[in-house]
Symmetry: C2
Subunit: 127 residues, 2 copies
DNA sequence: GATATCAGTATCCAATAAGATACCGGTATC
DNA sequence: GATACCGGTATCTTATTGGATACTGATATC
């Protein structure tokens, strides 16, 4: 199914539209990281907050609501005490795995590149 | 090289960080669409504006400057009259092709899904 | 009784992204 | 001379995002 990125003008236009569609539902700073955090399995609110490090509860709450609306996560309340709430990816979210893998791998190599650049710069300065 | 998304806690943390790294340089509404528009070859400012449909020149200009700074595009001025300015992807940008392909394909199927959903809804309402 | 945890809310504020609209100087065309 | 195209800028405003800080009510633990 995976056609390559071809140079036809029309296809290019459709590709741009498709990418904008994706970004429309998943854009912003947090949605993809949240989904990525939930890939290994369901997490509770506070656990998610820890996994995402510097997200505030307000933002996390807002993002989770949006993700729930768009059917990327489900929210389940357990009547323990104190109550626990679990967020879990839907099957639909799992269709994002390839996207996430590519974004992750690119991030890895980008960080390496940045590191190598600054290393080279430091070396040049020493001379 | 491509490892799967595994459930180890530490790897998950690193994956989240990597995705956030990617989003840090390429986040926002326009950067990925712009890069996608340039994949078939260099375009001039006005051509890009047309390809992106509803981007204003101010935003486009700003985004292009950022992309140039981060070495995703090069800007070449030709002394024609009136001057033409071409924006072209760098080799580094081409390392994003897989990312773009996945985002595009996901966008395609997402749009299809949305369409099917509303079709089903309309059918249900008719009954 | 004091303190802590859980899953958030409430309030207020700052930064940024995004957009509308108009405009610029230079050239070419009509 | 009027108009249009090119690659943008300038100015202003709005919307969205993000964040800090404090707090809530229920329960459990010390």
């Amino acid at each position: 199914m995976q056609s390559s990125v071809t140079p036809s003008k029309e296809e290019c236009t459709r590709a741009i539209a498709a990418i904008r569609d994706t970004l429309y539902v998943l854009g912003g700073k947090w949605k993809l990281p949240i989904i990525s955090a939930l890939i290994e399995g369901p997490l509770r609110f506070k656990e998610l907050q820890k996994a995402l490090e510097d997200i505030t509860p307000k933002i996390l709450s807002k993002e989770l609501k949006e993700l729930e609306l768009n059917e990327f996560v489900t929210r389940t309340v357990y009547a323990t005490s104190p109550v626990t709430v679990e967020y879990e990816l839907t099957a639909y979210s799992h269709s994002l795995e390839k996207v996430l893998v590519e974004l992750r791998d690119w991030g890895f190599q980008h960080r390496k590149r940045i590191k190598d650049c600054s290393k080279a710069r430091r070396a040049a300065e020493k001379v």
